[in-house]
Assembly symmetry: none
Homo-oligomer: 226 residues x 2
């Protein structure tokens, strides 16, 4: 369970990091709005804790932008003021909950847990790119409705690519996200992608897993197009 904390105050960021890590979450930190937006886009977080007062790009804009892009990751907003106006605006831009500073740590954890649980119950955990679908909860992969058996590692790699469909994902990123303990050899990725292509592309005469030479790979919808 991965959580992104976007917070520029180093003390608070540090506190949140250690605290949430102790709760059993994997915590990543972003120190400004732009970085936060970038990291959140990967879609790999179960929840984003977002401060409203941020250098660069403020929290409202990060939140609004993510929602505009169709990203449905639950967002818990931290706000210094507790005026009604502040809350209203935050929730209007698409945040799922807010918390006024200073806040009780217990309350934060409770709200956060509730958010994660609700999101899991509501959000359809199915990633789709063209006629390729990944049921993340069920660990089931389908191409045009017919089921494709994937090994755990293959599924992990494909999931990362699907979460960033259309974007090129570097091998370093794939290694980082699909290999729990850090591995280093880019060949690992190449080997898994090769296996994936057989099952997911070649077996269906398709080419949705593209190589981006010098960078990595990209998963696209290849049904129409030139």
């Amino acid at each position: 369970m991965r959580i992104l904390v976007v917070e520029d105050e180093v003390d608070l960021a540090h506190t949140l990091h250690t605290g949430l890590t102790a709760e059993g979450y994997s915590v990543d930190l972003a120190h400004d709005g732009r970085q936060g937006l970038w990291m959140a886009r990967t879609g790999e977080y179960a929840l984003v804790v977002l401060d409203l007062m941020l250098p660069g790009l403020n929290g409202y804009k990060v939140c609004a932008q993510l929602r505009r892009e169709g990203n449905a990751t639950p967002i818990l907003v931290l706000t210094a003021k507790d005026g009604e106006w502040d809350q209203a605006e935050a929730l209007d831009t698409g945040a799922d909950d807010y918390l006024a500073k200073p806040f009780s740590y217990m309350v934060l954890v409770a709200r956060l847990r509730a958010l994660v649980r609700r999101a899991a119950a509501v959000a359809p955990p199915v990633l789709a790119v063209g006629d390729l679908s990944l049921d993340v909860a069920g660990r089931v992969c389908r191409r045009a409705g017919t089921r494709v058996e994937l090994t755990p590692r293959e599924f992990a790699v494909l999931e990362v690519l699907a979460r960033r469909a259309g974007q090129a994902v570097s091998k370093a990123d794939l290694l980082y996200h699909a290999w729990p303990d850090e591995a280093l050899d880019p060949n690992l990725v190449e080997a898994r992608v090769s296996a994936l292509r057989k099952k997911v592309d070649a077996a269906f005469r398709r080419q949705s897993l593209q190589t981006v030479r010098g960078t990595g790979y990209r998963l696209v919808d290849d049904r129409e197009r030139d």
Copy 2:
């Protein structure tokens, strides 16, 4: 049996907590409407005791919001006034019963017990996945109509899987939910699943209990399709 008490008056909250705990319930407290709403949303409570007069978000709104979200947890409302109007409005927003303050503790417990019982009777306590059915209340398991004898632990494991049919459930999750006192060894799960497969699958030439390597297990309807 878990109960949520949403009550801002600390004395009353404390009284309820100790009293209901003595009755054998597990009691959680929320001190305002907003917190109450969040906790109730988790859906893990057999009943919610809800004061109408609350800071932040009043009881009417909490109740209405929960019902709007499809949450069917029984709600027992506590109201300071006992006017007809008050009662009507509470019941209209979806509460299941009300009690005017001051109330007798005995009456509260009785009403509460009745509510829990009624809810249990109304909610269909039969989980079905394909032709496999689990009568949770009666602890009866059937495959295609014929009865299958399960031990308590086996039933608990199968119930968890059935509640999340189609999804992969991790061994850690199964351990957490099917072993009351925390256990740690994943082998416990493997052993129970192994026994379950014999009774529920092998005896019927079926394969509804699937292994999801590296993750856990999944219960599916295996009669049709891929």
